[in-house]
């Protein structure tokens, strides 16, 4: 099906169907016009079509009079970091992150390296829809330069500055990371070298040939699990292709749901968050997070789904940490975007300082019964339609932040339209497994009627 999404996470679609050079160049031309001919950093992941989108974006940006700083193949967190570091007007990251094979995306970033907020997006979309792009004449077009090579070193320096490097070094960790053949291997290796951590890398070839579903989840963590057990590693991670989402595998080989990634790192970040009052997450994160935060005396601010709304709320409330149930975490003093390496570093520091094993930390997390379901759904009035589900559950408390949130004494359910794919995402979490099954059965009934 021909499906394209444009939002704060950029333009996303299926390559060759909805996402093609025509529409990509219109979007990039709108961006070039939006950036008003400044310096724009351009980076990409390893997906096969990323090179096509790279050339399409370069050409469009040059035509708009922008000077392009080509950062080549790199991870999303390095992109967030590089843009303010080189004082650029903004950036474009090309890459499909957690999306399955066949997808790709063009994500605009502002001058601070963040995803655009809603206001910025509206300005961009007005240009995009007007089709009035600033195309410069022959002697006013831009040029391409290579991004400074020392940015990676600065990025790793920044990571280390926020960590207790000595404690991590002394712990002598061995860590497994599955890179899903994305852009993460080189930078992770360089970072872990600094920390004297031994890296057992799998799928570390920057080829874009996806060995499994790139969304970090227990079922895509099986290779990493085997490597942890065989390699006797202290902990393992399954990364998506651009290092914005991660799932954890404990030293005993438990593949944790990506829902537990953020609570896990939070529970180890006590010293880092000593002065903090609150953290930010989205409206469909696990109760586990609430419990962990509560224990640490932190308030949890809940926002609509998406990196942009999390980052904006962090800024509004002067929070340093935010994350969500898809396995993401951002730490603002270091980087204005989701960053797997900051997440990895904080976990290692927590383990090193606390002296506990990865499995112990997992055991200490309060667990509930979570069921996630994805149902294909692409009705014209889908967004309105799903709100009607509340009638089926008169006994539940209702909130309409980003889809519909239903809550009961013993659990909650969240139903929302994906912003990136033509599906409805349902999450149900209850203390009791049978209750969770019952609720999900009733919700599915609504969609399958």
């Amino acid at each position: 099906m021909n499906f394209l999404r444009i939002g704060t996470s950029g333009m996303r679609g299926i390559v060759g169907e909805s996402l093609n050079p025509r529409i990509a160049m219109r979007f990039a031309s709108a961006l070039g016009t939006y950036f008003e001919g400044g310096v724009v950093v351009l980076g990409r992941d390893t997906r096969h079509s990323s090179e096509m989108l790279h050339h399409a974006c370069v050409s469009s940006l040059l035509s708009a009079g922008c000077n392009v700083l080509d950062a080549g193949v790199l991870s999303a967190p390095e992109m967030h970091f590089t843009i303010p570091h080189v004082h650029a007007k903004g950036g474009i990251f090309i890459g499909a992150g957690h999306h399955p094979e066949g997808w790709n995306a063009i994500t605009p970033l502002d001058k601070s390296g963040r995803f655009l907020n809603k206001v910025q997006l509206q300005v961009l979309l007005d240009i995009y829809h007007s089709h009035k792009f600033s195309d410069r004449v022959w002697d006013e077009t831009g040029s391409v330069y290579s991004a400074p090579t020392e940015t990676r070193a600065r990025y790793i320096e920044s990571l280390c500055n926020h960590l207790d490097v000595k404690a991590i070094k002394d712990a002598g960790f061995r860590v497994v990371v599955d890179f899903c053949n994305g852009s993460g291997f080189e930078v992770t290796k360089a970072f872990l070298n600094e920390l004297h951590v031994e890296l057992l890398a799998i799928n570390g070839e920057a080829s874009g040939n996806l060995p499994h579903d790139p969304e970090p989840r227990p079922r895509s963590s099986q290779q990493a699990r085997s490597a942890v057990l065989i390699g006797k590693a202290d902990i393992g991670f399954s990364f998506n292709t651009d290092l914005s989402r991660a799932a954890i595998i404990t030293n005993t080989g438990e593949t944790l749901s990506e829902e537990y990634t953020f609570p896990y790192v939070l529970s180890l970040a006590g010293t880092i968050l000593e002065q903090e009052k609150c953290i930010v997450t989205n409206c469909c994160s696990s109760k586990t997070l609430d419990r962990v935060a509560e224990k640490m005396g932190l308030e949890v601010l809940k926002v609509p789904v998406g990196q942009s709304s999390i980052m904006e709320t962090m800024l509004d409330n002067r929070c340093v940490m935010g994350g969500d149930g898809s396995g993401s975490m951002a730490y603002l003093p270091h980087n204005p975007g989701f960053d797997n390496l900051m997440l990895l570093g904080m976990i290692l520091q927590g383990l090193a300082v606390g002296g506990k094993k990865a499995a112990n930390i997992a055991e200490e997390l309060p667990r509930y019964h979570i069921i996630k379901k994805i149902i294909p759904y692409s009705k014209t009035h889908a967004a309105e339609e799903i709100l009607r589900i509340s009638k089926k559950f008169p006994e539940a408390a209702i909130s309409e932040m980003d889809g519909i949130h239903l809550s009961w004494e013993d659990g909650w359910a969240h139903i929302r339209l994906s912003t990136t794919e033509p599906v409805v995402r349902i999450i149900v979490e209850f203390s009791d497994a049978t209750r969770a099954e019952e609720i999900i059965f009733r919700i599915k009934g609504f969609f399958e009627k």
Binding site: M25, H55, S143
Partner: protein, 456 residues
Amino acid sequence: MSVPDTLKVSISGVRGIVGKALTPRHISDFAAAYGTQMGKGRILVGRDTRSTGKMFEHAVVAGLLSVGCKPMIVGIAPTPTVQMAVKEYNANGGIVISASHNPEEWNALKFIGPEGLFLSEAEAEELLHVYNQPERVYVKESEYRSPIYIDGIFDYHKKKILDAIDVKKISSKRYRVAVDCCNGVGALYSRTLLEAMGCEVDTFFDESEGRFYREPEPIAKNLNFICNKMQENIYDIGFAQDPDGDRIVVINPEGEPIGEQYSLLLAAEHLLANAKGSSIAVNIQTSRTIEDIANKYDATVIYTPVGEINVTKALLGNHCLMGGEGGSGGIIWPEIHPCRDSFGGMALILELMACRSKTLNEILDEMPQYDHVNRKYAVSRADAIELIRTLSFEFEKERTDQSDGLKISWEDGWTLIRSSNTEPVLRVFIEGKDPLSINRIEKLLDLENRVHLIGI
């Protein structure tokens, strides 16, 4: 003019003023249509030195990748070099990003087919048809191929030329050669070729950073700089190129441009003399001197419409020894490749001088001389066609040829009146045996007046 004349999408490809109407979006879309037409596979991508060349290279690469092609990016390269590389690299075709002799604010795409020739009229029409479809068929993620970058693309071209000529003989003459590279591809490649033939070379307009410091069309009025440099009479010959290296014009040792026609005539004088009884294909804009030379060596002249592909098709179809476009300094030497090539052209003319052991002026003195004028009138294409139609009725009693515009021949001279394929102008070429004949023909045509009347 009410219609903005900044973009032309036609069977000659896509051409326009960058930023005014021609954008990377058009270019990428055209490249995607072309990739579809060529059936995926390898496609060479070259460009001239224009400042917008790199920008459009990115657009072409994006378009080609999106339909499953493998772009082979050769960077700044002469158009003939890319044409001959198509077969050498087993490619399905090539795209050259160049607006030829148009000024620097223009750019365009030239499309090359699997044989290394420009697309024929029928193929170009088909491409336009593909381009005009509202939907493209793009490949999916798993069918993507990666572009590759090729260095030293000119080496093969250079070797072919050096293998085909008598390097020893030319070297022994130690010619002093001046070359005006037009800040184009010649800036990168002319010196190396000429030095390989033992010449002492001085180059002018030899920066290649994207600006043209003279008007790019290699016609007399644009060549003052090199002509002044040559006035001290220390050079044996001078050459002037256009930005993408297909055209060549000769300047004599006194620093006078001898006219675009003589490039082809000199090459023909050389090649036809060595192979009596052969044939030559030239466009109808070629000087009558070609017939005199052909007669001398029992050769047959085949006339074709203007346009390299038209000459090339006739040349290949009739197994001609050579071909060319007289009016625009185009020499086609199929032993190197059936395309216009300023580099092969320079080599042939130097070899002619070396083999005859004569100076350029001595050779020119032996050739029958005619006088020429070129006129250009700003007339829309539609008006130009009307005007040509009127003239064809008025002169129907004379010897006329309407294969491309209108050619009218008299005893003492001839004229070719045609509407340009690339600009909204009427181009008029007149050749006569002396200035009086030219005057007579000009009076007869009375174009100044006719064009003025259209304006009213």
